[in-house]
């Protein structure tokens, strides 16, 4: 086995740019996806029936179709319907919608785990249903499912490799671009895999730190 990693040294900047795109797109998608997830979960537990149906349909649609098909539908399909967007925008939209679907279901599970007593406590203080959701129920619910959420975030980070298909110049694209020119497929893939591993571990640590901070109020109960 002859490893020629030195053949890749000229490509450091390319790898760096690719990793930056991967992190940037994932971070943006995680932010929007989380918002979608909270609204989606609220929708699924709403007292307004059409909202419940809509959120339910969204979850089923996203969770029962492959991510690459969703991406191709947005990038190649929507222009037919007159909605044309660039590859970065399409990738961001597809990743956000995809994460939103999964996050909705995860957060809904968190909401379900909150006892009826918490809601009633909110109402007895004179809070409306929305205020109770936002001020009393939401944060403990998120805390319950936070590990599941973070692993979904990591999945989105790794799944972002798929958007190389539509020529978004992220890490996987860079890897395939480089190996199509130097024919060092093994070495290039090795480097790409190592960068993904570092990114994933970094995300994991970061989310753990965020979690400790956001849910610090409950620390003493453990």
């Amino acid at each position: 086995m002859n490893l020629a990693l030195t053949d890749l040294t000229d490509n450091g900047l390319l790898f760096f740019k690719g990793a930056l795109w991967t992190v940037g797109l994932s971070a943006a998608a995680i932010f929007t996806g989380m918002l979608l997830g909270v609204f989606g979960a609220a929708g699924r537990r709403s007292q307004i029936a059409p909202l419940r149906w809509f959120a339910g349909a969204y979850v089923e649609l996203i969770r029962n179709t492959p991510f690459i098909v969703q991406l191709f539908f947005i990038y190649f399909g929507l222009p037919r319907l007159g909605l044309k967007m660039g590859s970065v925008e399409a990738a961001f939209l597809a990743m956000s919608l995809n994460l939103g679907g999964y996050a909705t279901e995860i957060i809904r599970a968190g909401l379900d785990s909150i006892s009826k007593g918490a809601w009633e406590a909110g109402y007895s203080l004179g809070l409306t249903r929305f205020q109770t959701f936002r001020l009393v129920v939401l944060v403990p619910a998120l805390q319950k499912v936070y590990p599941a959420l973070t692993s979904q975030f990591i999945i989105i980070l790794l799944g972002s490799s798929v958007v190389s298909q539509i020529a978004v110049e992220e890490l996987t694209y860079v890897g395939s671009y480089i190996q199509s020119r130097n024919f060092r497929a093994f070495e290039t893939t090795l480097v790409v895999a190592a960068i993904y591993l570092l990114l994933a571990l970094g995300f994991q640590q970061m989310f753990a730190a965020v979690g400790r901070r956001v849910f610090a109020y409950a620390e003493h109960r453990r």
């Binding site: 191709f72 990038y75 190649f76 399909g77 222009p79 037919r80 044309k84 660039g86 590859s87 190389s164 298909q165 539509i166 020529a167 694209y173 395939s176 671009y177 190996q179 199509s180 020119r181």
Partner: protein, 265 residues
């Protein structure tokens, strides 16, 4: 006594073999074809639109039509011999066929082994786009978006010649590149003329018309070395077919465009 008899028999055999060998070496391929009234041609069957097997299980394509045209001009029966790109030359060198019409490109290594006629089919990588796009050369790509398959010949060449402001989008595979062009995500596509022909055949809303050539590698007919009569005859047939439009008809049928004027003769 016995041993001398044996020696005579052996000598006879050797002489006979040598005579046979010299006869086949002297024979002229064109004379043989005219004598047996059969032209054997190596054609592809796995490379549409040059050669593939139709739904009726018969071979069809640009190369098959060209072979038929030559056989007709010679007034002989055509025998198609399906070959792969790897065994094309051995079939010719072992005299199993007289001609290779199998989208064969010319290169110095092959020229050492066999002879080539004039070009009979265009085969090139180029930039394609809608008729309205005014693109005459690499410089016109400035500010335009061009779809290309990552790592393909077109990608490597385009990366060298495209101006820095050209937006070269590299897609994972051929089909994704085509989809990007057809859905309008890129305004031009860099690919082979054969791929462009395959897209045109599907009558798409945005048509990939030829703009300029990136790399040209036309197809030639291959034949055995030192067959000047056959070479001359086939060359004459191709030139006539280019003149009277019959080769153009084949090109339009299979590649969706007539023979480019700059195809070497």
């Amino acid at each position: 006594m016995l041993s001398s008899l044996r020696r005579i028999a052996l000598t006879g055999c050797v002489l006979g073999l040598a005579a046979l060998a010299s006869v086949s070496a002297k024979a002229d391929a064109l004379d043989d074809i005219m004598k047996t009234k059969v032209l054997r041609v190596a054609v592809p069957q796995d490379f549409p639109p040059f050669g593939s097997v139709g739904t009726d299980l018969q071979p069809r394509g640009y190369d098959i039509d060209t072979a038929a045209l030559i056989a007709k001009e010679l007034g002989v029966k055509l025998e198609l011999v399906p070959v792969t790109s790897a065994n094309r030359l051995p079939y010719l060198q072992t005299k199993k066929v007289e001609l290779i019409i199998s989208s064969l490109g010319k290169n110095p290594e092959r020229e050492k082994a066999i002879d080539f006629t004039v070009a009979y089919a265009p085969f090139y990588s180029g930039v394609f786009g809608p008729a309205a796009a005014k693109i005459a050369g690499p410089a016109d790509l400035a500010g335009k978006s061009i779809g290309v398959t990552r790592g393909a010949l077109e990608d490597l060449e385009l990366s060298k010649i495209a101006p820095p402001t050209a937006d070269v989008r590299r897609f994972e595979d051929n089909n994704t590149t085509i989809s990007a062009f057809l859905s309008g995500q890129v305004s031009l596509i860099a690919t082979g003329n054969v791929v462009a022909a395959a897209i045109l055949a599907r009558n798409p809303p945005t048509r990939p018309e030829p703009k300029f050539v990136i790399k040209d590698s036309p197809c030639f007919i291959g034949l055995a070395k030192d067959e000047p009569k056959l070479l001359e005859k086939v060359n004459a047939i191709i030139k006539k077919a280019r003149g009277d439009g019959s080769l153009d008809a084949i090109a339009k049928k299979w590649l969706g465009a007539p023979i480019p004027a700059d195809l070497p003769t």
